[in-house]
């Protein structure tokens, strides 16, 4: 039996995610869209905290909400005239999107929810995931060690930095 606080928190988060997700893709002002995305990301971080993955939640806030979203905002400000909203969608376009999205949702939902193996699972308590453990896993070469992906990601990020500079540089 979960604590009531947790359940309430869950509902708040779930509703926030649903509402802001929809708003993100339906608003006609791009900067608002980015803002709603920020809320979705925060809500996601709360889910991570609820799952006892504090580190992941922190990363979510720091990298996603703090980093990526700032990039978006910068890009929007560089490319958009302020106050200008996108023109209304044609109904045909909207229909296409809706069909694709609903089909996808229906199919995935059916796939997920028809599998009975997930049904009765409850959150097991007493899982201790502290920073020390994560650090050891990340830099370990043992079984379940993630040193190689870690290094690969670091190289990828380096390449990305260089690539970003090269691409966006004024020639």
């Amino acid at each position: 039996m979960e604590s009531v606080g947790n359940i309430i928190l869950y509902f708040i988060v779930a509703i926030a995610i649903i509402v802001f997700s929809v708003l993100t893709v339906t608003t006609r002002k791009i900067l608002r869209s980015a803002t709603y995305l920020l809320f979705v990301l925060f809500a996601t971080a709360i889910i991570y905290f609820q799952m006892d993955y504090q580190f992941l939640g922190a990363v979510q806030i720091a990298v996603y909400a703090g980093g990526i979203l700032v990039l978006f905002v910068f890009a929007i400000m560089l490319t958009q005239q302020p106050g200008k909203s996108a023109e209304a969608l044609t109904s045909q376009r909207r229909c296409l999107g809706l069909v694709a999205a609903l089909c996808g949702v229906a199919l995935c939902g059916y796939g997920l929810f028809s599998y009975a193996g997930f049904a009765g699972k409850l959150l097991s308590s007493g899982v201790d995931i502290n920073m020390e453990k994560i650090g050891q896993f990340l830099l370990s070469t043992d079984k379940y060690g993630y040193l190689l992906p870690f290094e690969a990601i670091s190289v990828l990020l380096l390449a990305c930095i260089i690539g970003g500079v090269v691409i966006a540089r004024r020639r």
Binding site: L96, A100, C103, G104, L107, C108, Y110, G111
Partner: protein, 665 residues
């Protein structure tokens, strides 16, 4: 000298072809020619050595039971299809091959030497394409040598094609003149058509006898002196018949058609007169002395098989006898000296064919009676002597043409004073071909007539008549060139004169050979079964043949020695006949009519229409359909990423749905 040198004899011209053809351009023209002549000289010496060794040596295995054996010097496999079906390329020396080696190399050497002068202008500068010319001459020599030393019938076929090719190349040597192009196309197409039959014949023959090799087809039976083996080979096919004739008769007739194409037998002779568009030495080598006798050689090579199939032999006899007369009749009226000589060649080759065909008759399959095989020997003998004197005549004609720059005899007349050496050599050639003793032609032609009389009185009389015509037309040409009336010299400086030594020397040598070649003891050396024939000159036949030859010569002398209106009057008296003969009895027009009007109109045009409209149309339709379809679906490549994503997503969903349905079911 070992017989193995025969390989070198064959290979040397091939090497010279490659050498002159590839390196010749880098060298001077004259040097190329000199190298070609020297190599040919070496080749000739080797060939003589091989022939002498073969005929007079007594090496191991050469003579068995008093019979000279065919020697296979080398016989490597060339194409092996199955264990039993192997096509070999080898070198075989037997009497006719050795004889042909001598003939080919001699004439070829003379032509090589002669061409040094002929292919140059009057200042001695070699013509353009000189190296190419010599390379092709070497190629031809190689092909012809390869043909005569063939160890199997397939090899003969291959080299048959190669001599046809080199003939094509050399006829078309002056490729910028349309006439030469037409002539070489004509020669190639006609002989190709004949070779198709040859190939059919080869296939039928080898299918039923299970072999290509002469060893088993021909020599086994002849050398052992009995026909049993060959008969068994034939009799395996004996049961099989097609259209009422035995398969073997068909095979041998087809092979003869192949030979008839190369040897210009009626009605496949039409290419030879046109082939005279090539340089005259080429005519002498290919279209008078060597290649055109390939057909005779082929029949001679398979002679033991032909003996067994009398039907095929009768066809050869009729075709040969008719062609001899037909060509002689045309030769009587031609004004172009090379064409006249060409028809003379056809007639003489027909003599050889006839001679082969009269060697046997219905009764002589097994029983050997006197005169049996005489025709074979006589044919080969005539082949030998004819090659020499016809090459001589052509080279003389070449010298004359080189001097007066025309082929027409009305541009010549009275050249005797200007070109005495050429005149005498030409006279010797004429006497030889007419059959006046002691010149070469007398002996061989006499043997042919004897063989013909053995076969039947009618054949003998017929051939005698043709011999008479031969004498007549040759002396007609001779008189029209060298006498008739005084030669009109327009320009003292450019008066015709005897040509330089490179051209005169071959004439003298060939004239000398024509004088003495008749005394070669052919009946001891070249017989179909290796046994020496004991013949003596039958003076009743010989006397009559000399008689008819003299009649022909006298007639020609009366008509053409000095300018007189007699020939004109006779031509007018028989205007129709004369014109028909002059127009070669309209054979070319007939071919033209058949090919253009009949075959083209009724067969080719509808087929071409079918090809253009149905076949091409079908593929055009395919192409057009593809094209328009592509244009239709290119809208899918819209450049809009979202459209791609949409399609991708739907595809992924579809796949997922399918998977799910499968799992559920």
């Amino acid at each position: 000298m070992p017989l193995n040198l025969a390989i070198v004899v064959v290979a040397l011209p091939l090497f010279m072809f490659l050498f002159l053809g590839l390196v010749g351009v880098k060298m001077g023209r004259k040097i190329t020619g000199v190298i070609g002549v020297l190599a040919m000289l070496v080749d000739t010496i080797l060939a003589y050595g091989v022939a002498l060794t073969y005929f007079f040596g007594s090496g191991e295995g050469q003579i068995v039971d008093g019979v000279r054996q065919a020697v296979v010097v080398a016989n490597p496999a060339w194409l092996s299809f199955t264990d039993t079906l192997v096509v070999r390329m080898g070198v075989l020396v037997d009497p006719i091959a050795a004889m042909m080696l001598v003939v080919i190399t001699t004439v070829s050497l003379m032509v090589h030497l002669y061409s040094l002068g002929y292919m140059s202008d009057h200042d001695g500068n070699a013509e353009k394409g000189f190296q190419r010319y010599y390379a092709f001459l070497a190629l031809f020599t190689f092909s012809m040598l390869g043909l005569v030393v063939a160890t199997n019938v397939f090899q003969i076929f291959v080299f048959f094609e190669m001599v046809g090719l080199s003939s094509y190349l050399l006829i078309g040597f002056y490729y910028s003149t349309p006439a030469a192009n037409h002539a070489n196309k004509k020669a190639f197409i006609v002989t190709r058509l004949a070779d198709l039959f040859f190939l059919l014949g080869v296939m039928i023959l080898s299918y039923y006898t299970k072999t290509f090799d002469f060893d088993q087809l021909v020599f086994g039976p002849t050398m052992s002196g009995s026909l049993e083996t060959a008969q068994s080979a034939i009799s395996t096919a004996g049961g099989a018949t097609f259209l009422g004739c035995s398969v073997m008769a068909w095979a041998l007739t087809f092979i003869f058609i192949g030979g008839a194409g190369k040897s210009a037998m009626y009605p496949l002779h039409i290419w030879l007169p046109d082939a005279m568009e090539g340089p005259t030495p080429v005519s002498a080598l290919i279209h008078a002395a060597t290649m055109v006798v390939a057909g005779v050689f082929l029949v001679a090579r398979l002679f033991p098989l032909y003996v067994l199939v009398q039907g095929a032999m009768n066809i050869i006899l009729v075709v040969g006898a008719f062609t001899a007369f037909y060509a002689a009749a045309i030769a009587c009226t031609q004004s172009d000296i090379k064409r006249a000589l060409a028809f003379s060649t056809i007639s003489q080759i027909a003599f050889m064919m006839t001679s082969l065909a009269v060697s046997s008759n219905e009764n002589s399959l097994i029983e050997i009676h006197e005169g049996y095989g005489l025709g074979y020997m006589a044919s080969m003998f005539h082949l030998f002597t004819h090659a020499m004197f016809k090459a001589l005549l052509f080279l003389c004609a070449g010298a004359i043409i080189h001097a007066v720059h025309s082929n027409e005899n009305d541009k010549m007349h009275g050249l005797h004073k200007f070109m005495p050496i050429t005149s005498i050599c030409f006279l010797i050639g004429c006497l030889a071909i007419a059959g006046i003793p002691p010149f070469a032609g007398f002996f061989s032609k006499d043997e042919i007539l004897v063989a013909a009389y053995h076969r039947g009185l009618g054949w003998g009389l017929w051939m005698s008549m043709v011999a008479c015509m031969t004498a007549f037309y040759m002396f007609r040409i001779y008189y029209l060139i060298f006498f008739w009336k005084k030669h009109e010299v327009h320009d003292e400086h450019h008066a015709p004169k005897d040509q330089p030594w490179t051209m005169t020397l071959p004439l003298i040598i060939l004239a000398a050979i024509s004088c003495v070649a008749g005394f070669v003891p052919f009946h001891d050396l070249v017989t179909w079964d290796g046994h020496a024939l004991h013949t003596s000159i039958d003076w009743t036949v010989a006397g009559s043949s000399i008689g008819v030859a003299l009649v022909g010569i006298c007639l020609a002398t009366v008509m053409y020695r000095k300018e007189n209106p007699l020939p004109e009057r006779m031509a007018n008296a028989m205007r129709g006949l004369w014109t028909a003969s002059y127009k070669r009895f309209y054979m070319d027009e007939l071919y033209q009519f058949i090919t253009h009007k009949v075959i083209f109109q009724t067969i080719c045009v509808p087929i071409a229409w079918f090809d253009r409209h149905i076949i091409d149309g079908f593929f055009n339709l395919l192409a057009d359909a593809t094209n328009s379809l592509s244009f239709g679906i290119r809208r899918l490549q819209s450049g809009s990423i979202q459209a791609y994503v949409y399609v991708y997503l739907l595809g992924a969903l579809l796949l997922a749905a399918i998977t799910m349905v499968c799992v559920l079911l």
